[in-house]
């Protein structure tokens, strides 16, 4: 017996299994290609990091109930060649510069924050060369103060494929920076603000 619905089922089953096989093939060769290009050993150089700390009191700069919060901005130089990340299954790469540090009041708290990121959609844009660039975000910590800490800067990347798994990695080359201590000026500003509120 042969009917239209049976025919439809057969065809759709075949199409589905072919699609699954094709996707598996694409993903496998994509991963093999990445290993062959040695993408997990790419290097970067982050230099000339100039931190700048401001005290903000807006909720959108991390302040709770108007209490002052230290915000960090930096300027930096960045060199990296990420062209090996581009192959035939790469839709875009997302590059981000992060800083890692430990808590001051609670040293058991480990943090990582993004200061700059960028979306690269073609191979020509994958050679990054920034000079005295400004950080994209104004960064605050869960603690009120961010000053007087050791930050480690690193460049990470994420490949967004056309199909398949999202691939993450970090470049070799990290750059440590110690943030300066804040002047007692902001401390007095904080106490005067409090007394005003009372």
């Amino acid at each position: 017996m042969f009917s239209l619905s049976q025919r439809f089922q057969q065809t759709s089953n075949q199409a589905l299994s072919f699609a699954i096989f094709a996707a598996a093939f694409v993903v496998a060769t994509f991963c093999a290609q990445l290993y062959q290009d040695n993408v997990f050993g790419l290097s970067s150089s982050i230099g000339n990091i100039q931190p700048q700390i401001n005290v903000r009191t807006s909720r959108f700069y991390g302040s709770v109930n108007g209490r002052p919060k230290e915000n960090l901005k930096i300027s930096f130089d960045l060199e990296s060649d990420l062209t090996p990340l581009f192959n035939w299954n790469t839709k875009q790469i997302f590059v981000y510069l992060t800083a890692e540090y430990n808590g001051l009041k609670k040293p058991s708290v480990k943090s990582e924050v993004t200061l700059w990121d960028s979306i690269i959609t073609d191979k020509e844009g994958a050679v990054i060369s920034l000079n005295n660039a400004k950080s994209k975000y104004s960064v605050w910590d869960i603690e009120e103060k961010l000053s007087d800490r050791n930050l480690t800067f690193k460049l990470h990347w994420n490949i967004q494929p056309w199909i398949g798994p999202l691939v993450y990695g970090e470049t070799n080359g990290e750059s440590p920076v110690t943030l300066p201590q804040t002047k007692p000026k902001s401390q007095s500003a904080r106490t005067s603000k409090r007394s005003e509120a009372v």
């Binding site: 875009q92 997302f94 058991s108 943090s111 924050v113 993004t114 979306i119 993450y168």
Partner: protein, 168 residues
Amino acid sequence: MNLRLELTRFLNLCFALASAFMFWKGLSIVTNSHSPIVVVLSGSMEPAFQRGDILFLWNRNELNKVGDVVVYEVDNKEIPIVHRVLREHVDETSGKQLLLTKGDNNAGNDIPLYAKRKIYLHKEKDIVGTVKGYIPQLGYITIWISENKYAKMGLMGLIALSALLSNE
């Protein structure tokens, strides 16, 4: 009309529905996420994800890293949001992690989207899963069915018609 035949057919239909449900719940248990496959609804992560793309989630990781794309739910809002982790703060003694997220295509971070007075997400409570895999555009059919009433009626009609016409 043969009653036994009709009942068998009904049983087959139940079997198909039950196995689909079992597959979904099984996947839920394996990934530890109540919705392990999601369809992107907004353009806030463009060009990485467009409307209609299918994402596969994993929620067995205890901590998220900066740069991970996570799906989270805000209290009192039904629609899950797919955005990227911008900052993470983890207390290694308690294992609790706070996350701040941002959509690649949005100018600012997600604090205005969070529940009232919240400025961080909690990894344990708010995160539905971390995006691990991606299939483009295929989920558009579910958006089409849920947002277009003619498509919905057409699909219902097709199912009814095929149920009526199919003879074992």
